[in-house]
């Protein structure tokens, strides 16, 4: 699988299995992938070497996904953002995935998702 431009992705998820497996899938699809275990590290890595797309979980230690999305939107307005969540968690009556959209994610994926659909979303964001 080849593509014209290698795009750089940053995957933030507190589950090592999740981010490692996504890394393999995404690298196979020709992307360059960096991994962060939480939102705070993701922001640090982005500052050191910006990615084109952030793929982030919603519930994470340190800085959670919503805060991370908000921070990226302010500091890196051109970075596209894909939010992933198990969904269904209500905080104060709001479903979390919806707020991810409201906080400025370009696309949301509900876990578990078929990696094909993640690749599809990535293509649509190009």
């Amino acid at each position: 699988m080849t593509r014209a431009v290698t795009r750089r992705l940053l995957v933030a998820d507190d589950s090592a299995d999740m981010r490692e497996s996504l890394k393999i899938v995404l690298e196979r699809a020709g992307y360059e992938v960096a991994l962060a275990p939480d939102g705070l590290r993701a922001l640090e890595m982005q500052r050191a070497r910006p990615a084109d797309v952030l793929i982030t979980d919603i519930f994470m230690p340190e800085r959670d996904g919503l805060e991370t999305i908000t921070a990226f939107r302010q500091e890196f307005p051109r970075t596209r953002i894909i939010a992933m969540s198990g969904g269904g968690v209500r905080v104060g009556g709001t479903i979390y995935l919806d707020t991810a959209g409201a906080a400025g994610a370009d696309a949301t994926l509900r876990k578990p998702f078929d990696p094909h659909s993640l690749l599809g979303v990535l293509q649509s964001l190009e």
Binding site: D17, E20, S21, R28, F59, M60, P61, G86, R90, P112
Partner: protein, 516 residues
């Protein structure tokens, strides 16, 4: 006309008696009627009913008299006579020789008590009950001012005294301390009985207690004094009603009776208010439990989905990777881990169901506590190592023998240890100790972790109560570990305890178990 003996009977009555002939002319009025109606018989005898009492023409009493005169059948009514400001019970009977005989009595006190009783019975708010009782009693007994001192218990179980006032602004009393167990007040607060004095300053009990030796300076002057304990059905003294007047001899036996009546009605109302408050609190607790269950279900959905995501990604990897390749092996290992995680969640869920239906059964045997504890340590070791925690273990030199379920006891300790690991930042310290203390075995797990805020301490062992804002720390947990630990400890006849100096200051969890 009447025999002297009959006259003696009539004059001796406490109730009023008046007779009219067939032409409505008043032929007799007894002394009680003079007193109750405030009229002298010389003024009214020989006059007709309407001449003697023009204010009554056409009123309900008049209508009743007219009916009795016509129908020759006796009637009775209770009537608020605005003219006299009294409730009267009036009976009118036909007289054989013609005319009507009327017999009446003052039921104002009874009516007043009924009115207060109805008002109190319909009130479930404690403060309004005591205020209504104080106001009614102060008015009915003729006091210048009255006070209701009553005991309440706050949420923390501490008892303290509050008061309401009637007939005097609160500022008048705000500067005084609460009444203490002095000779004058003690009989009331001990529920011993009513104190009624025409002049309390001349009472033997008065002025004997330091520091004031009587009323404190600036106190409203009290000579006439009346104090009635308010005692619940269970015999508990709820408080006392106190009345004062600057003049002597104000409180009559009647006043005492009325206040005693109000006190017993207030006691019932206070009991009701308390029961109502308890029922309300129980309802709120149920709603809170319900809310937590809802949250748990949402958490559960999330937690069950979470391992599914990498499993699905793993499947995809297996599809696109050659069999036996490094990525395929990685995917398989990862899927197995996530599957095990999923199984643990489902097992936890089954435990929740077993706990809530009371279906946990212990397989008891005689066992050495340290062995169960070490088995728990093995279970959590990978977790401790992953978080780079240091785990210190201290076991007693002598074996501590228990009668219990080895697997379940190990589970209790494992739950406490994994809780400590989760709620402590990487590289923290966790200490585990087993000891004997006052005939009990004590397992203690101390951590250097995030600690527990004082307001959350009482709930840490409740089902689904992951501390607010720390959910991610549970790392895929359902918030049932501590609840399960408590339940299992209780099934063993033991108990659990949580201590923390506060947020950020670490925690200690203890399990107490009976020795074999």
């Amino acid at each position: 006309m009447l025999q002297q003996q009959t006259v003696d009977y009539l004059e001796g009555l406490l109730e009023g008696f008046v007779a009219y002939d067939g032409d409505w002319v008043m032929t007799y009025m007894n002394a009680a009627a003079e007193r109750l109606l405030g009229r002298r018989r010389d003024d009214v005898l020989g006059k007709t009913w309407h001449q003697a009492f023009p204010h009554a023409v056409g009123n309900e009493v008049d209508q009743m008299y007219q009916r009795v005169m016509r129908s020759r059948e006796a009637e009775r009514m209770e009537y608020f006579y605005a003219h006299y400001g009294r409730w009267l019970e009036i009976s009118a009977s036909p007289v054989r020789s013609g005319g009507v005989a009327v017999y009446f009595r003052d039921i104002s006190d009874r009516e007043a008590l009924n009115r207060v009783g109805r008002a109190l019975a319909s009130e479930l708010d404690l403060e309004r009950v005591v205020q209504a009782a104080t106001d009614a009693a102060t008015e009915l007994c003729g006091a210048q001012f009255g006070a209701f001192f009553y005991n309440v218990t706050n949420d923390a179980g501490e008892s303290y005294m509050l008061y309401t006032l009637s007939g005097v602004p609160r500022e008048e009393f705000a500067k005084f301390p609460m009444p203490r167990n002095t000779a004058v007040f003690a009989p009331t607060f001990a529920g011993e009985g009513i104190v009624r004095s025409d002049d309390i300053t001349r009472d033997a009990r008065y002025g004997r207690s330091a520091p004031h030796h009587g009323m404190p300076r600036g106190h409203l002057p009290v000579r006439s004094y009346l104090a009635v304990p308010v005692v619940s059905r269970s015999g508990e003294v709820l408080g006392g009603l106190f009345f004062g007047h600057a003049e002597t001899g104000v409180f009559t036996e009647r006043a005492e009776r009325i206040v005693a009546g109000i006190a017993s009605q207030a006691a019932i109302a206070l009991d009701n208010a308390r029961l109502f408050a308890q029922a309300k609190a129980a309802g709120e607790k149920l709603r809170e439990a319900d809310r937590r269950k809802d949250e748990f279900l949402a958490t559960l959905a999330h937690e069950l989905r979470n391992p599914l995501a990498p499993i699905r990604t793993g499947l995809h990897l297996l599809h696109i990777s050659p069999p036996g390749s490094e990525p395929a092996a990685q995917a398989r290992a990862m899927m197995e881990r996530q599957l095990n995680h999923l199984i643990r969640l489902v097992d936890d869920l089954l435990e929740v169901s077993r706990i809530s239906t009371g279906k946990i059964e212990l397989r008891r045997s005689r066992l050495e506590l340290a062995a169960a504890v070490l088995s728990a340590v093995e279970t959590v070791r990978p977790m401790m190592e992953a978080a780079h925690h240091r785990l210190d273990i201290s076991l007693p030199p002598e074996p501590v023998m228990l009668e219990g379920d080895f697997v379940r006891l190990a589970q209790v300790v494992a739950n406490l240890l994994s809780n400590a690991a989760k709620y402590t930042d990487p590289g923290g310290r966790v200490a585990l100790s087993v000891r004997r203390e006052q005939g009990e075995a004590v397992v203690s797990v101390t951590d250097s972790g995030v600690g527990i805020a004082p307001e959350q301490l009482p709930q840490v062992f409740d089902m689904f109560s992951q501390a607010e804002g720390t959910r991610y720390r549970a790392q895929g947990g359902l918030g049932i570990g501590l609840a399960l630990a408590r339940r299992l400890a209780e099934l063993h006849g033991g108990r659990v305890e949580a201590r923390s100096e506060g947020a950020g200051k670490g925690s200690e969890f203890r399990v107490y178990l009976p020795l074999a």
